[in-house]
């Protein structure tokens, strides 16, 4: 294996008496989709938040693109190319779809503290943003307020924003949540495209999607990394089946 893009070592996080993450070890290799699955409360979301820098682990370290990122703030990690999406769409609702993507292009460019040039005519923002929207199939909705987009469109917009960040790694927190089967198929296609851009750490409940897309799977149970392996290994791991998968995927 080559050097991992993202390395999680010994990450522990407690909330009072609750042990949310227990010495988690995990890595993300170039080009792969690494799915993290597990029952509710297994610590998946907490793990994502810690990698993104929104929460601080009690102990453990994160390495991203060969560098220790423990001291970086959430915004600094995002700017470094560690880009996440949210379980529940998190957009600037009053902004148009275009403005949402422009904000991402601006964030990635690290030139926010400019006070005079109007953004509407700033082609270094508008043009790439439009391009990302086009790729996400949202070109015609560019000037619609984000709050007025459909659920599926908002999901697509989040992907466009993530791409606009010029990511070196994606963290997708349940991208399939709340989308019907049709939308789910579209997103599955999009995820397959995303991996061309950067490897993906995928937290997902939709087992069909996970088993068809992922290269490797980690199973989190009660804050512990229970098992990591290829799809086939996980599918055939008796302990995993007992602990989590049940009979659902046995066939």
């Amino acid at each position: 294996m080559s050097d991992p893009v993202l390395e999680v070592s010994g990450v522990t996080k407690t909330f009072g008496a609750l042990l949310a993450c227990n010495k988690i070890e995990l890595d993300l290799q170039p080009g792969e989709i690494h799915a993290v699955i597990g029952p509710n409360g297994a610590g998946k979301s907490t793990l994502i938040k810690q990698i993104a820098g929104e929460q601080k682990p009690d102990s453990g370290t994160f390495k991203f693109a060969g560098h220790n990122i423990d001291i970086l703030s959430a915004s600094q990690r995002a700017r470094a190319g560690l880009v996440r999406t949210f379980q529940i769409s998190s957009l600037a609702g009053e902004f148009s779809a275009l403005q949402n993507v422009m904000l991402a292009v601006q964030g990635a460019s690290a030139h926010t503290f400019r006070f005079f040039k109007p953004v509407q005519s700033d082609m270094s923002l508008v043009e790439p943003a439009m391009e990302f929207l086009k790729n996400a199939g949202l070109e015609e909705r560019a000037h619609t307020a984000a709050s007025e987009l459909s659920h599926g469109e908002r999901r697509q917009l989040e992907i466009a924003i993530a791409l606009a960040m010029q990511p070196k790694a994606f963290m997708l927190d349940e991208p399939m949540a709340g989308i019907g089967p049709g939308g789910s198929k579209v997103l599955t296609g999009i995820l397959d495209q995303l991996r061309q851009q950067a490897p993906i750490l995928l937290v997902e409940h939709d087992m069909d999607a996970v088993f068809s897309l992922a290269d490797r799977i980690s199973v989190l149970v009660q804050g512990r990394n229970f098992a990591t392996g290829t799809v086939a290994e996980i599918r055939n791991n008796q302990a995993v089946r007992d602990a989590y998968l049940g009979e659902e995927v046995a066939s």
Partner: protein, 329 residues
Amino acid sequence: MTLTRETAINAVLFVGLLIAALIAYLLDEPFIITMATKVAIFSIAGIGLNLALGYGGLVSFGHAAFFGFGGYVAGILANHALNNTLVFSWPIEMAGTNSMLMIWPVAIFLSALVALLIGVLSLRTSGVYFIMITLAFAQMIYYFAISWPAYGGEDGLPTYIRNSFPGLNTLNPIEFFLICFVWLGVSLMLCSAIVHSRFGLALQGTRQNEQRVTSVGIDPFRVKLVAFVISGGITGLAGTLYTDLNRFVSPSVFSWQTSGEIMVFVILGGVARLFGPLAGAALFITMEFTLGGMTEHWQLWLGLLLLFVVLYTPGGLIGVLTSGRGKDV
């Protein structure tokens, strides 16, 4: 920019203020000119607050701190110039001055610096904590101004004459009005530029969704802090002009009522609307004048009107005139 109804109303408000002052000049009504000057000054204070409150969602109830700081800078520098004494002698000697061109940058800088200090502490919190903390810090400065005797303490500090501007007689009401009017125009242009800039995009994004802004690599704390500092600087400038208008400054500029009134200008006119503070200040001053002429208890009616505006007319005066929608973003 297309000529929307709001743009038209903005133009009428802006030009209307100038025309009102000029007509008053022709009719030799200095009192009306002074009222117009007050409108211009309060509008500038409101424009400063609007940047933080309207566009950044930072409900500051402490902008009196910056308004008052600007006011005292003008008062203190002028007072030292008048008495021919030094403001301080260490590490360098700093003499007082009567020149507006000197006073303005000092006042803007110091008000912005105070905003930086208050902002660093209070922006660690949000929501209702932020409201209470900004109010508390302004109150702290208010009590300090009252109990610090060097510059008049509770009695305030008279400057006797207006500070000077090259080529103008600032004691002539219309000439002083024009100075304030030009500053109003500059503040409006500055605010418009900021709102539409990259920084403005980040600021308004932060108001709507901090998580989103963070996840695209922008630090919302820095964005809010910079907005708060600019906001404080603009409001501080308004304070210096207010001292010059009255030729006097007293601790009441730091009072919570001042913060409340600046906020009223913004909300009365319409939050996050570029010309909202102008509309609000104009309405407020006109009402103070007309209601004040009818009854001693005009504040009672002002209060009732404000209640009506809050409960039934979201969008403020400009919102009503443009029938609601179409925020200038």
